[in-house]
């Protein structure tokens, strides 16, 4: 089936050089940036609100969660500065709309007191996605944004870790809810990614890279929580198939 044998030449011919930087001052770049940056700002704002909200479901953890929430606000300010630096106005209405399905699912779970679902949405899905997106962004970011984003990524790992630890400790009781929440929310992440693929491409961020990196982080988190490789593959397929 495969054209196996002509490949070494192909590899040599196509050896890619380092990532090429986009023209940060072009109108096309700024236009795309206005939406991507808005998503990031909105994402950090929602993260803040979500951690505070989760604190109401886990009163004994409220202090820790409030700390995470404060970090997200700090990130938001950083990313706002990135937009100012490029002379871009973030398209916040777009971002609000962008997050609304996931926002809706979180609010619904919150109202029902489903802490597992809330944690999966915020502390696992959104954090894993943010970490991956920031990683893909860093090599092609403008120098100002690069520095800010590098700082943010470090924090986000601690947030991902927070969700992981809680779910791991409670896996026996939460497994079913986690799987259900995965089914309902993972496809949303994929749709969100597809929605911004063309804008991300202008920023030299490749859709496949984003998806692959996200799935790696997500898989790793689920592995840590205690799912097996096959279970995870089944869960991750919700983002990939259909």
């Amino acid at each position: 089936m495969a054209t196996l044998t002509s490949t070494p030449e192909a590899l040599e011919a196509g050896t890619p050089s380092g990532a090429e930087l986009p023209d940060f001052s072009s109108e096309t770049y700024k236009d795309a940036y206005s939406r991507i940056n808005a998503i990031v700002i909105e994402g950090e704002q929602e993260a803040h609100d979500n951690y505070v909200a989760i604190g109401t479901l886990l009163p004994d953890q409220a202090e820790e969660l409030a700390k995470l929430a404060r970090m997200e606000l700090k990130h938001m300010k950083g990313f706002t500065a990135c937009a100012n630096n490029l002379g871009v106005t973030a398209d916040m209405p777009f971002a609000k709309e962008f997050f609304s399905p996931l926002h809706g699912n979180f609010q619904k779970a919150l109202a029902e007191g489903k802490v597992t679902t809330c944690l999966l949405i915020q502390a696992i899905l959104i954090e894993a996605f943010a970490i991956s997106a920031y990683h893909i962004y860093i090599p092609v970011a403008d120098p100002f944004a690069r520095k800010i984003t590098e700082g943010v990524v470090k924090d986000e790992y601690t947030h991902l870790n927070y969700g992981q630890e809680w779910l791991k400790a409670n896996l026996d009781h939460v497994r079913e809810e986690l799987e259900q929440a995965n089914r309902e929310n993972l496809p949303l992440v994929r749709k969100m990614l597809e929605q911004v693929a063309s804008d991300a491409a202008v920023l030299h961020m490749d859709q496949e890279d984003l998806m692959a990196d996200f799935l790696s982080s997500y898989q790793e988190a689920l592995m840590d929580i205690g799912f097996t490789g096959r279970e995870i593959a089944r869960m991750a397929a919700a983002a990939l198939v259909g």
């Binding site: 089936m1 002509s6 490949t7 070494p8 890279d209 898989q219 096959r230």
Partner: protein, 349 residues
């Protein structure tokens, strides 16, 4: 703990394998889905050396298939992510199998040690090329005499001579002593450099080398368009198919031409794994690529370092060391079927 990073030989085959391993969703996915899918640690095994020493290992499928080779970024990411998973899984020494090491080298991934948050520690990986080169040399030395070929007088063509494995094979055969080394490769300059460093060997085009050679060692991937005029080959002719993928037998099948899968070893007992079923080994419970076996050998020997790394760094000392370990722990190089060899009386015990 040792690790093996492998992949399926085609997308079609990968889907079948995914289904059999219980990854039904992957089996149903299309190539785009596979491109985004993360690597999987699919199997853990325990291997016992002939010496009695027991080691643990893991097989990681990079979820790469050769159909992705033209998607450079995908191929690159697949390799690096699989290595990242090996490292995060706490594996001490992992061999890069199949296209994994080819991609790693050709795309110069040494520059890319940082994958997301993980800094890859090169000490934990080996291409396995030292063992592969040693095994190929064993295969030449064991099987040529069986066909009545006297190596001391034979012309041995090495196709891909300037590559990592090819140059090691040349050095080994030079030390052993063969009639003449015929050096073949696509790019002229590395060949000239090799000839200079050896102080011997004749540089030839493939078409000119083949009719002269009693033994041909293939350690380059064959161009699809390659046609071998089997009528012009010497008889007998021993061909060691050491490239990847192994597809020489279909191109060089003729009476008197003996094609042997190169760089394959057989373990002294069944391993009890599923993964080699798909690598088209005749005895998947015992046979495997020599590069994989190198990771096991290094773990058996407690040599947790990148034993084979970079290009053209393989020394004869290293080949001697890994060769001795290979025999000690119960590996044997794949041989021609004794029934096919014309001089059964020469078959070793």
């Amino acid at each position: 703990m040792f690790g093996l990073i492998g992949h399926s030989t085609s997308f079609e085959e990968a889907r079948v394998k995914a289904r059999s391993l219980g990854y039904g969703e992957f089996a149903d996915g299309d190539l785009d889905m596979w491109c985004s899918a993360p690597p999987q640690l699919v199997e853990r095994v325990q291997v016992t050396s002939r010496t009695g020493k027991v080691i643990e290992g893991a097989y990681i499928d990079s979820v790469f298939v050769p159909e992705m080779l033209r998607r450079f970024k995908t191929a690159k990411r697949k390799v690096l992510k699989a290595m990242e998973l090996a490292q995060k899984s706490g594996i001490d020494i992992t061999a890069l199998g199949g296209f994994t090491s080819i991609i790693f080298e050709d795309m110069n991934l040494l520059r890319e040690e940082r994958v997301s948050a993980v800094e890859l520690d090169w000490q934990r990986f080996t291409t396995g090329n030292t063992h592969t080169a040693w095994v190929i040399c064993q295969q030449v030395e064991t099987n040529a005499p069986r066909l009545g070929i006297d190596l001391a007088r034979a012309k041995v063509a090495v196709v891909g001579a300037s590559g990592d494995i090819g140059s090691a094979v040349c050095r080994w055969l030079q030390r052993r002593g063969v009639g003449e080394l015929l050096l073949v490769a696509r790019r002229p300059q590395p060949l000239i450099d090799l000839q200079e460093s050896l102080g011997e060997g004749r540089i030839l085009d493939l078409a000119d080398a083949l009719p002269e050679a009693d033994v041909v060692v293939w350690v380059a991937s064959l161009p699809q368009s390659l046609q071998i005029d089997t009528g012009s080959l010497r008889k007998p002719c021993l061909m060691i198919d050491g490239g990847y993928p192994k597809n020489l037998d279909s191109k060089a099948a003729a009476p008197g031409v003996h094609v042997l899968k190169g760089g394959i070893v057989e373990f002294w007992q069944d391993i009890g794994w599923q993964m080699m079923e798909v690598a088209e080994m005749a005895k998947p419970q015992r046979q495997m690529f020599a590069c994989f076996a190198e990771a096991m050998l290094l773990d058996f020997e407690g040599i947790h370092t990148n034993f084979s790394w970079g290009r053209n760094n393989i020394t004869l000392d290293a080949m001697d060391l890994i060769g001795a370990a290979s025999l000690r722990h119960g590996f044997r190089s794949l041989e021609l079927d004794p029934a096919l060899a014309p001089s059964p009386s020469l078959a070793p015990a």
